[in-house]
């Protein structure tokens, strides 16, 4: 199962151990974890609620994983993304890429996150010292996705 959308937390160490145990051809593992910050745009954040589009989310993530595997010489790609209400310090997203060598693993990990940021149907709403607000998309995310 290369993609999971879940409310529960994840254990990166366990996910990586599982991918390595399944494939002795792995010589490199690259991983990214995105977490909730306590401040955004200068304002304190108490909670962040992630909503998604059930039905599309999994297929969008599967497409991204398939694209990463096509473009880079890697062995496997795992994406776990949480939804629901999270607090500062909580984990949001995990990407793990296994490969024979580090170069493709690093690239595929970054590519997967750049695509996810612009193509996977998730939205963040923050509650904090300035009340409630939907997080706005950043132009820098589009630029990051366009470079691949």
């Amino acid at each position: 199962m290369p993609v999971r959308v879940q409310t529960e937390d994840f254990d990166a160490g366990r996910e990586i151990a599982r991918l390595r145990a399944e494939d002795r051809g792995v010589g490199a593992v690259a991983a990214f974890i995105g977490t909730v910050r306590d401040v955004n745009a200068g304002a304190g954040v108490d909670t962040m609620t992630l909503e998604h589009y059930p039905g599309m989310t999994e297929s969008a993530l599967e497409d991204i994983v398939a694209e990463a595997k096509r473009h880079f010489a890697v062995r496997d790609v795992l994406v776990v993304h949480r939804v629901g209400t999270l607090g500062p310090g909580d984990q949001i997203v995990l990407v793990v890429v296994t490969g024979a060598h580090r170069g493709a693993a690093f690239d595929a990990c970054e590519f997967t996150m750049d695509r996810l940021k612009t193509r996977a149907p998730f939205w963040k709403k923050e509650r904090g010292e300035h009340g409630e607000r939907w997080v706005e998309a950043r132009a820098s995310d589009d630029e990051a996705a366009a470079r691949w």
Binding site: G34, H52, M56, S59, T118, A120, P121, F122
Partner: protein, 93 residues
Amino acid sequence: MRDSTDSVVRLRLVYLARLREAFSSAGEALSLADEAPTVADVVASLRARGNVWAAELAPGRAVRFAVNHRLVRVDHTLADGDEVAIFPPVTGG
């Protein structure tokens, strides 16, 4: 042979995130009397309601579309039974 019912395209609209809140609706059924409507025709139909619909979908506002769970451009042609989702740019990760 085509009869007059062939030219009505029935769609399921889905509103997400900020747009769901702004429209006070998670979605609705919409029929367009058109041979081959596009996403742009749906947007025009919703804008014509005025108020928050016209404001949120005004030209220049950043809005994204998915048809049957695939991201599409506004010129995408729609078929009877399509699910059309309308939402702000995504902010996951």
